[in-house]
């Protein structure tokens, strides 16, 4: 984003607004901002909505939010990069989140993660080259009673073993082979 701003000395706003006018999702996002009366303190809520709509926060999207909320782009970028929940890169079609909370860790979550990393040939935080699977870790999802837990596409799945986990993601990583 810094590059985007510094590369364009001229105001890129008209360009971004034109981009936005052709995309329905920007309208939904603007309606959401209106619901919050374009208040500055709604920034995190707005970014949540933006990520929900677009999957990730691209530069133009952040600039659009900054313009509409009348905030400096630095502030929007600062918030978007501070919080782990927001991602500035596109995600894969499927997501796999391995909980690495203490309870899951002492019950072998590190081995589950290693097995998936090996099977998918990516590291935690990465996405497969064919954009099919994004592998992430979580700090604790509060499902300690059923540790170790893994979240596949938003579904929390209890008591995982390396074998079970690899079996689960297999369909996603074999795709296209």
């Amino acid at each position: 984003m810094i590059a985007t701003i510094s590369n364009t000395k001229k105001n890129r706003l008209p360009e971004i607004l034109e981009h936005a006018s052709g995309d329905k999702r920007f309208k939904i996002l603007e309606a959401h901002m209106k619901k919050h009366q374009f208040k500055h303190d709604a920034l995190i809520e707005v970014l949540h909505k933006a990520q929900e709509l677009f999957g990730y926060l691209e530069d133009d999207l952040l600039l659009f939010v900054a313009y509409k909320l009348k905030l400096p782009p630095s502030r929007v970028y600062g918030v978007a990069t501070f919080y782990h929940f927001f991602t500035l890169k596109p995600q894969g079609a499927h997501t796999c989140v391995v909980c690495m909370g203490t309870a899951c860790y002492v019950k072998g979550a590190d081995k589950v993660l290693a097995a998936i990393e090996q099977a998918a040939k990516i590291k935690a935080g990465g996405t497969t080259p064919d954009n099919q699977l994004s592998l992430m870790t979580a700090r604790c999802i509060g499902a300690c009673g059923i540790a170790p837990a893994v979240v596949y596409d938003g579904t929390v799945t209890p008591r995982q073993t390396p074998e079970l986990a690899v079996q689960h993601v297999k369909g996603w990583i074999d795709h296209g082979n």
């Binding site: 208040k39 500055h40 303190d41 709604a42 920034l43 995190i44 809520e45 970014l47 949540h48 502030r75 600062g78 918030v79 501070f82 919080y83 782990h84 929940f85 927001f86 690495m100 909370g101 203490t102 309870a103 860790y105 002492v106 019950k107 979580a138 700090r139 604790c140 999802i141 509060g142 499902a143 300690c144 009673g145 059923i146 540790a147 837990a149 579904t155 929390v156 799945t157 209890p158």
Partner: protein
Amino acid sequence: MVIDDLNAIAEAERAARKKYTLRCCMAAGCHSSNSVAVKKALEQAVKDAGLEDLVEVRGVGCMRLCCQGPLVQVDPDGTLYEKVRPEDSASLVGTLRGGTTHVQKGDPNSPFFTEQLSIVLANSGYIDPERIESYIAADGYRALHDVLREMTPKEVVDEIIKSGLRGRGGAGFPTGLKWGTVAKTESAQKYVICNADEGDPGAFMDRSVLESDPHSILEGMAIAGYAVGANQGFVYVRAEYPLAISRLQNAIKQAKQRGLLGSGIFESPFTFNIDVRIGAGAFVCGEETALMMSVEGKRGTPRPRPPFPAESGLWGCPTLINNVETFANVAPILRKGADWFASIGTEKSKGTKVFALAGKITNTGLIEVPMGTKLRDIVEKMGGGAPDGAPIKAVQTGGPSGGCIPAEALDTPVDYESLASLGSIMGSGGMIVMDDATRMVDVARFFMEFCMDESCGKCVPCRAGTVQMHSLLEKILNREATAADLQRLEELCQMVRDTSLCGLGQTAPNPVLSTLRFFRSEYEELLKKETAHNGEPRAAIR
């Protein structure tokens, strides 16, 4: 809404009760073990058997024994079924007419259940968290009514002071004192914040309370708002808890519809609104000044205190911040009296504490016990010890800010002071049991990695210190460290603890310091023997 309306709702709810109730756990643990399908199947089975007039299937909050979920309990006889599958529903409903079932039965009279004393979780597992009527039938919002109609704000604060309630977020600051400070600070605008940013890995108490009994938090916050003179509340919840967020939002909507939030509550001049603020995955936002920054929509970085939030908090206004569990204690205290609450627990720590029991232990789940209960009773009697009877090595409390308590110290009573004397903290209530297979240096490294990632970067001791401590721990684990490295690690721990800006940095060294204190030999075994010039290992270097 007046008291007669409240009574009418409660009466109607009680009158609608049927002969049998199948309570089906719908909290996070069981939810992910497919309890939604189980509840649906049970409803269908009741319909198929033509028992709709006799049997109610009720989705309830956490029923505690998460490891055996999905759980279903039958009222009135209290039979507890474990690991229920949707296909078991017909035989389960059949038992109501004298049939049999092969579904695994739990023992509701086992110490795991009988040793518990429920104040915060009293409604959890009994009421339907998605229906306000269910909460009202359990005497809900009665305390708010009595407070608004019969007590002055000062009397409410005094009652909380008298009860001896201390903050359940970990530090244990006297709640009444905090309320009193906010109440005394003059300002046209004040705020109440509920800290539901339960970031400690291994803790899920607040999540369970929000999912099981969201109205108790709203009632506690409204009472606090009246006591301190605030008209706006915020609940700051982690984004990782979608179920808790949706139940909370649903509860707020229902309370507003019934006139229990909004303007002129119970026909008094008191106005109170609550908004939900969703976090975005930053552990440091559990720290109160960072949390307020986040509520304002900014980067969640802490600031030095004083001024404390009670004097200058959200947008510079006096702000009361309490933890979920603290607010959940408020309505019961005002309903049953401060003396009743003060009679539970120890001299300095009153009431009960909810713990999330997890790790290498047979019964994982949620427990609520009186303060002063011995750790051994919790771990061995209620938790059933480690699976396969392996010896327990340590219990970790307080998450990344806490420490490891060795098995020898299991007879310690659980209260704020005793845990602090062992170099750990009460924390928010996560309790992770570790057995012989767990290497303590690895645990210390795990927590240090956590703190390193979660450090907000504002102050140098925390930002740079956690990185250095982490690399020293890595070095030790790789058997590349010397005694001098260990000494440097200890020095760094002291420095980071003494000079960091906020609680995150000040407590980050705790897991290292406590494992060094009780398991020093594990560190020393990993040290590289310093070799003398002739290549022979030098004897015992200290």
